[in-house]
Amino acid sequence: MPFGDVAPVLETFGFRDLLVFSEDVRALKETRADLFEHGACPFALYACADIRAPDAGKLPGKISAARAVADFVAVRSADEKVMRAAVESSSVDILIPSERGKVGAINHIVAKAAADNNIAFAFETAPLINSRGYRRAKLIAGYSEMVPVLRRYGVPVLLLSGAESGYDLRDPLTQRAFGELFTLEPSECRAACAENFQNMLRRAELTESEHYVMNGVEIVRPREE
C-alpha cells in the first residue's frame, strides 16, 4: 500500500495528527509535501527522528543532531544502558523500549528519570500484529512487565502503530484493546491513544514559543486592557 493510499485508511479510522518516524528526518521533511500524491495532506504531519544507537556513547551526538531538525525525538533500543542514557536526556521525547521484536527490561531508575524528564514510553503494536506464538507472547510479557513500574512513577505511555505498511494500521478502539493486552487500565489506554499525545504536542508548542525560558519558567504578560 503506497503512502498516499494510507490517508483514506487513516481518515476512516478518525486520526487527525500523524507522527511519522524516520531515521533521516531531513529527507523526510524535504519530501513531506510529496508523501500524499492525491493533493494536500489532510493531517497535521509531525516528523519524529527514530534514533537507533548501538551503544550509549554515540547517543548524545545523535540526539542533538536530530533535535535540531525534528519535531520530536525518539530513541529505540532494548539495551538497558542505551535506555538509561536516553531517559537522562531532556531532549528526548519518546523512548521505544523494543527493537527487532525484542523488548528490553526497565528498572526503577530508568522509570524515575523518564518521569523527571517527561519522556514517554511507547509501545508499538505492529510487531504484535506481525508476530505469532512465542515471539508474540514474549512481546506481550515484556510490555506487561514494564507497566507496573511505569505506572508507579507516572511515566506517560503511548500506543504507537509502528506501521511499516498501511495494513499494520489499526483503529483507536483496537489500539486500546491492544493496550489492555499489555495490562494497561482502560483509562490508561485512552490516555495512551490521545491525551498523552496531546500533552506532548502542547509541550512542543510551548517550548517553541517566544515566552518559553526553561522547564517550569515561562514569561507571562499581563493582559492589556
Binding site: V9, T12, F13, T125, L128, I129, N130, R132, G133, R136, S165, G166, Y167, L169, R170, D171, L173, T174, Q175, R176, A177, F178, E180, L181, P186
Partner: protein
C-alpha cells in the same frame, strides 16, 4: 479492509484462529465469540461484554486471510444487535428493513 473480497468462511476461520492464539481455546469458548453475519465486507461479531476488549484485540490481530493482507476495522461496540446495525446503516439487509410498527 482488503484489496480483494473476503469470503465469510475464510473470515470466520481467521477470526477464531486469532482468538484461539490470543485467548486460548478455553478463553475463546468463555468469550462467547460468534460471527453473526458478514456480507459486502461488513459484519457483526457477538461476544460476552466482559470479553469485549479481548475479542477486539483478537480481531485486530488478524493480519491476513488466505494469504492476502487485511485490516478488521471495529466500527463500534454496542449492547444489542439492533443498535449495532444502527451504527452502520449500510450494513446488511437489516438496513433496508422498515422500522418495526408499534
Amino acid at each position: 479492509m482488503s484489496d480483494a473480497p473476503v469470503e465469510r468462511d475464510a473470515l470466520i476461520n481467521a477470526v477464531f484462529s486469532s482468538a484461539c492464539s490470543v485467548l486460548g481455546d478455553a478463553g475463546t469458548a468463555h468469550s462467547g465469540l460468534m460471527v453473526l453475519g458478514f456480507e459486502n465486507g461488513k459484519g457483526i461479531v457477538r461476544c460476552r461484554h466482559t470479553a469485549a476488549a479481548d475479542v477486539i484485540a483478537a480481531l485486530g490481530l488478524v493480519s491476513s486471510i488466505n494469504g492476502r493482507r487485511v485490516i478488521i476495522h471495529v466500527k463500534g461496540v454496542s449492547g444489542t444487535i439492533k443498535a449495532a446495525r444502527k451504527k452502520d446503516a449500510s450494513y446488511g439487509s437489516a438496513a433496508a428493513r422498515p422500522p418495526a410498527s408499534k
